[in-house]
Symmetry: C2
Subunit: 356 residues, 2 copies
DNA sequence: GTGAAAGCGCTAACAT
DNA sequence: ATGTTAGCGCTTTCAC
């Protein structure tokens, strides 16, 4: 067992600068009560010796751990990884999260927890005990899990909740799913579509509801009755297929579909084609997830692009500011998603009976 | 600032079980010299109190940090993330790495460092000082960076080097790139191709060379002269284009190309089509990276699939075993890549002059 | 404004 | 086989 020691510690710096440990500590942490000249001297020694504080020691001494945990759903994340389709969500979280963390000397650790199990509490407590993170970024469906929120809050860990607006502790961040759904719907309306079906995500996800609201509102604004155009999905490919079958089944089938994630969109696409319809000539399709599968699909699909990296970055900022003791507004942070128009949406082709 | 304390410490467990701290510590770390009944008693208390050791404290006391760092090239990783094409490499490393880490109470932290800069040394030392990882997983081109190896070795940090076989400290892991290149080449030979071009990756990557060797060997075994069929690339789309132009330019152009990564393959595909050739009817193409872009390309491309997750998992195993003081073989670990045949490779269509 | 002392939770080395 | 002691590197009191 190699007994590794820190090569340059605060002691070395103190000795080199000819000051006390305390003064060095103050400089490191940008605390007051240090004369500029002392500051300078200490900083010079730090630079000279290449000193970097040990986060383990900092954590031990009761200060911050400089660790932020990104909590993700184990089952879903692993399934995504296994498919090797470009998980996107975790990737993009890391993209935004790591870069922002680095700016502040923080690290991001991805933790997978089992939502469905009852041991979520045990898993979470274990993660907290071993890591003692300064903050946790929660993604749906964890963002609204009261048990998780309660535990984190009890431990005075800063919380950033992505995709949730329900009451409770923590900072709220959304991508304005309602507006995004509206954008998607309006795009289709402008292309002449009236029968615009919507495949919703599971109700356990708050954002599923927001998207439905946006779609319904846009439909109403366009003077279209959205009755019978709604289908419930569960984010799975199969549910996308089933929903599309339902929407295409009646005697007044839809001419366009907005599906709440990539898998359901792909499922719908398959069904649309089975019905002998071409995309986008005969049928328009919009995905609510701009993942690689969607982008490299044929045709490349029009999609709602969610700024996950940016949201993760903001989440990290909020946590760090909060931990630094700054007063941070609890107003929800909104980083709006946008619509990327590709080749799965086109002007509605008049149905035969219309032209007759 | 909230002064967060461990809620349940080793002291509580010791008190509850009526033993000394040391005994608890021994039980936690599966050390000898504890009677089964004591073990039992301590474990019961641990379970009862829900005790989990603080890794910060464990690290402080000179033992392991239970942290493994996955070192990646900053520039390239960020570029991949920004493109949102499904980075795959980082994703897959996390997939294999995190799961294996979890089994042993370890955590994986992704660190990005700037290879090209001279401050790589400073960056690395800073990461070591602040994190004090037990091990580091190196990916190309870091795997063979002597400076990095030296620093890590000096700090007695276990090293897992993916894609390198050069001398130096650390465990070696490869996906048998030579064999993979051979597989790809043989596949094309079987389809009747003779003029099989190869676009190599930059020589800074050891595996670039291995792939070339595999291709050349397979060509030789098939009795084909590989002269003039080699093109140097640098993993960029543009270099793939340039290389393909060169290979298609002469009076005896290639009928198939193997490119050493996804971007170059895509570049080559573009050029092939500009030459009026259809894939796979007129031209066969194999990618040496089975990323989402390749899989969802049109047609879906035949590709070498690299078992990155599995390699990362093995890397973690090696590091953990090494840290546990076990004698671990320094023999290179080989997790062979495989060829996934899709629709970008087909039987060679006889050239006009052949049929004449 | 600066320093000295105590202690965070744990393990190493040395008792017994 | 078990307990005791002395730190690890840092921050937090609380002195000066």
């Amino acid at each position: 067992m190699a007994r590794r020691r820190q090569s340059v510690t605060i002691k070395h710096v103190a000795a080199d600068a000819g000051v006390s440990l305390q003064t060095v500590s103050r400089v490191i942490n940008n605390e007051p009560n240090v004369r500029p000249e002392m500051q300078e001297r200490v900083r010079a020694s730090i630079a000279k010796l290449g000193y970097v504080p040990s986060i383990a020691a900092q954590r031990m001494a009761g200060r911050r751990s400089y660790l932020i945990v990104a909590l993700n759903d184990r089952e879903r994340t692993i399934a995504d990884w296994r498919k090797r389709e470009g998980t996107d969500w975790v990737d993009q979280m890391m993209f935004g999260g790591i870069l922002k963390c680095t700016e502040h000397g923080y690290r991001l650790i991805v933790e997978l927890v089992d939502t469905h199990s009852d041991h979520i509490e045990r898993e979470l407590l274990a993660a907290i005990a071993s890591l003692q993170p300064d903050g946790v970024i929660l993604t749906p469906p964890h963002s609204q899990n009261q048990k998780i929120l309660e535990i984190l809050d009890d431990h005075k860990i800063s919380i950033a909740r992505i995709g949730s607006l329900t009451d409770g502790p923590g900072f709220l961040l959304t991508m304005d799913d309602e507006h995004a759904a509206r954008l998607a719907t309006e795009h289709l309306v402008e292309l002449g579509h009236h029968r615009i079906g919507f495949i919703a995500g599971p109700p356990e996800y708050e954002l599923s509801g927001w998207r439905v609201v946006g779609w319904k509102a846009a439909m109403r604004d366009a003077g279209i009755d959205s009755g019978g155009l709604f289908a419930q999905g569960d984010f799975s490919f199969a549910s996308g297929r089933a929903a599309a079958e339902a929407l295409l089944g009646g005697d007044d089938p839809v001419t366009a579909i907005i599906a709440s994630n990539d898998q359901m969109t792909l499922g719908a696409l398959e069904v649309v084609r089975e019905h002998g319809l071409r995309v986008p000539e005969d049928f328009s399709l919009i995905s609510f997830d701009d993942t690689p599968v969607i982008r490299f699909s044929h045709p490349p699909l029009t999609a709602v692009q969610q700024p996950i990296a940016e949201v993760a970055s903001r989440a990290v900022e909020l946590i760090i500011s909060d931990q630094a003791g700054k007063k941070v507004s609890r107003e929800p942070v909104v980083v709006p998603a946008s619509l990327v128009v590709r080749n799965s949406t086109a002007r509605r082709r008049p149905a035969l009976k219309d032209t007759a």
